[in-house]
């Protein structure tokens, strides 16, 4: 199978598998225990925290391990966006956030918080001025993703964090898609909170982290123990943490190589698609994007049907789920960009990774070239 769905999840790096297996085999202790087995576990936890922090330019004590980016997003949005003293609260987020941000934001809204969702331009970018127009001194949280999962388009997090800092508004970014694919530095970004996930960068599923800037007053999330600075009680997922850390080390050591190699393959794919299908719309083309992501709408062809046909040809790409109604599923991200239902339902996402080869890109282009015209003859009306 040719796997081009790395934004959904990545294969686990062999080094990560080894590190996790070694941890499971050789390190039975609980990091909270006083004996030597516990001490060894605590040492591995400490080293892992350093490696994860290093990838994003943070200090180890600023990393709270979570079950993944969804938990980290929930912690940020519900921890800060819901008022507990009866005062009105306010969240500003973009309309193209992942559901891990949008869904808790709506929960906060139903609890009385005002929620403003900021739209994007045709290239899928938030305009910092739009955020500044909505957010003010009463705003409890601004949340803006660093890179969009569907289009790969990068968002002006640094500019908006500058504004947030000037108004003393807490600033969160969901960086689950960005970390490991582009350079991410929390000091440079100037954010207070940042969500990340291991399985998007060749680590295991079920582990992630919330960066919490030192001295930032983040609430306790899970009560029940002193772990994670008291913010998230419960015995640590040590094998997961060790795997996450190994993945971060690998990503940090080879980030430039990744960007060069994967970026070139993505360009090859994008150019090939454009050459064969001049009418295809590359979503977010012209904006700064992740090096590995290509979202294309083939007008008149429902994305799900193209994706399933490619699956039968042995190529895994991403789309919404297949649907036979009059209104097939449209991505909220693409609807926000295009305001055009047709384009929004006709997208597929190719997301490349370390394992992707030039031969796979050529085979994918050939399969797309064979499939799109066939689907078009079946469905002549867009």
């Amino acid at each position: 199978m040719i796997y081009l769905d790395h934004n959904a999840t990545t294969p686990v790096a062999p080094e990560v598998v080894e590190a996790m297996a070694a941890c499971l085999r050789d390190c039975p202790g609980n990091p909270s225990s006083v004996h030597r087995a516990g001490q060894e576990a605590a040492r591995r936890l400490d080293r892992s925290r350093e490696a994860v922090a290093a990838l994003i330019g943070a200090a180890p004590d600023e990393i709270v391990f979570t079950s993944g980016a969804t938990e980290a997003d929930n912690q940020a949005v519900l921890g800060l966006g819901v008022s507990h003293d009866g005062r009105a609260s306010h969240i500003v987020a973009s309309a193209i956030e992942h559901q891990a941000v949008l869904a808790p934001a709506r929960v906060a809204e139903s609890a009385g918080t005002r929620l403003d969702l900021i739209g994007v331009d045709a290239l899928g970018r938030v305009n910092p001025a739009d955020v500044a127009a909505e957010a003010g001194s009463g705003t409890a949280l601004i949340s803006l993703m660093l890179a969009n999962s569907e289009t790969g388009v990068l968002q002006p997090v640094r500019e908006i964090a500058d504004f947030a800092k000037s108004r003393a508004i807490p600033m969160h970014t969901d960086a689950a898609q960005a970390v490991g694919k582009i350079a991410v530095d929390v000091r440079e970004l100037g954010v207070d909170l940042l969500s990340m996930s291991a399985h998007k960068l060749r680590g295991p599923k079920g582990i992630g982290a919330l960066y919490v800037r030192r001295d930032f007053p983040a609430p306790v999330w899970l009560h029940g123990g002193p772990q994670e600075g008291g913010r998230r009680g419960g015995t640590e997922n040590l094998p997961g943490v060790v795997g996450f850390a190994k993945a971060c080390e690998l990503a940090a050591a080879r980030l430039a190589e990744y960007i060069g190699r994967v970026g070139a393959l993505r360009e090859r794919l994008e150019t090939g698609v454009r050459t064969r299908f001049p009418e295809a719309v590359v979503n977010g083309a012209g904006a700064a994007r992740l090096p590995n992501t290509l979202s294309v709408s083939f007008p008149g062809i429902e994305g799900a049907r193209l994706a399933l046909s490619l699956d039968l040809a042995g190529i895994a790409v991403s789309t919404g789920s297949a649907c036979c109604g009059k209104r097939p599923q449209a991505s909220h991200v693409l609807l926000a960009m295009h305001h055009d239902y047709g384009v929004a339902t006709c997208a597929v996402r190719f997301s490349l990774g370390w394992e992707t080869t030039a031969a796979e890109i050529e085979a994918t282009l050939a399969a797309v070239a064979a499939t799109v015209p066939r689907l078009r003859t079946l469905n002549p009306e867009p």
Partner: protein
């Protein structure tokens, strides 16, 4: 061999159908139709609950074939549930399974199959498609070999194009053989309850109240029970709750067994009779006939077990059927399907019953 899509409900029948086609060398793709908003409902209906997707996915994995879920909730509501509700409102008793087969399984799913490069759709129905007198014409629908499980009744509305594309791998098998073949193959669904063609609700009244909740905010059309002379016998909860021949659950006590003999939607009257023989009909009129065999001549007599009948085919697409023996509880909204032996000649929708010849 050709690429073929199998509608997989997660039950033993569609599972074995997929397994047989796969063994015959077809490139087999399993597709499960999502018809209800199951997520989070915690309900596990016989063939459409969330767990049917998981069952079908498990079997597809066991067979090593691809499996997809096709979300048909909107289409199912528009093309199957809404017309069924309209029928109930009009005093008829709908047959949603016929519509589901014609519009979804061999409609939307067939169209979806073509986008996957498959020209045919298979299901686990107990029915057979056999070549007709003209081998170039579409195959002709016949009863399944297992007369007790025969489902050809639910498939009469397939048009020639749909019959060409349809495939019923279980048509020649008995149910007990299907279970045995499934067990021999170690299929995880071998001993699972069958879904048949009743994926909507347990009983008719449950289905009607489900539709009332979906389309009318739970509102029904209450009215009166009347006897055959028009005398009011009591109040009823809504015309949607009743079907012709119904005896139980009427919600009125007459001191003697009573049956629903007529539903008058216009006046919201439900006619009760204490004479069971009043339910007997001498024939019926049906609309929207789909003829698939050589068109019968007017007045030609066809024998159907257990009710021999003669049929008059009319040019307006309707038909008039006269039974040689009286038939009980002929119900408007249900399908009338005409057989010659095992062969389906055609079928349509019952408009009204005809009285016994005097």
């Amino acid at each position: 061999m050709s690429r073929i899509v199998v509608a997989m409900s997660g039950g033993v029948d569609s599972t074995l159908a997929a397994a047989l086609l796969h063994e015959q060398g077809h490139e087999t793709i399993g597709v499960t139709l999502r018809l209800h908003p199951c997520e989070g409902s915690g309900q596990a209906r016989s063939c459409c609950g969330g767990d049917s997707v998981a069952q079908a996915r498990a079997v597809a994995g066991q067979l090593g074939i691809p499996h997809h879920v096709l979300d048909c909730q909107d289409l199912f509501a528009d093309e199957v549930l809404r017309p069924a509700w309209d029928d109930y409102r009009n005093g008829r008793t709908p047959n949603p399974c016929v519509l589901c087969n014609a519009r979804l399984k061999f409609g939307a799913l067939l169209e979806f199959a073509r986008t996957l490069g498959a020209e045919r759709v298979a299901t686990g129905h107990y029915a057979r498609l056999l070549p007709g007198a003209d081998p170039a014409a579409a195959p002709v629908l016949h009863r399944g070999a297992d007369r007790a499980k025969d489902q050809s009744y639910f498939l009469f509305a397939l048009d020639p194009g749909q019959r060409r594309a349809a495939c019923f791998p279980l048509g020649g098998l008995e149910k007990c053989e299907v279970r045995r073949l499934a067990r021999e193959r170690g299929l995880v669904t071998a001993d699972r309850a069958e879904s048949q063609d009743i994926c909507l609700a347990g009983d008719a009244e449950g289905f009607a109240s489900l539709l009332a909740a979906q389309f009318a905010g739970g509102a029904t059309r209450p009215g009166h029970f009347v006897d055959e002379t028009g005398r009011v016998l009591g109040a009823h909860r809504g015309v949607e709750s009743f079907t012709i021949g119904q005896r139980r659950g009427l919600g009125v006590a007459l001191g003697a067994p009573a049956w629903v003999s007529e539903i008058r939607a216009g006046t919201a009257e439900v006619v009760l009779t204490t004479r069971e023989e009043a339910l007997l009909a001498g024939g019926l009129e049906a609309d929207g006939m789909v003829w698939q065999a050589v068109p019968p001549e007017a007045g030609t007599r066809y024998r159907q077990r257990p009710t021999p009948a003669s049929v008059v085919r009319r040019a307006d697409g309707s038909a008039c059927v006269h039974f040689l023996r009286p038939v009980k509880a002929v119900t408007p909204g249900q399908a009338a399907v005409l057989y010659q032996g095992d062969r389906v000649l055609g079928g349509g929708w019952i408009r009204r019953s005809l009285p016994l010849p005097s």
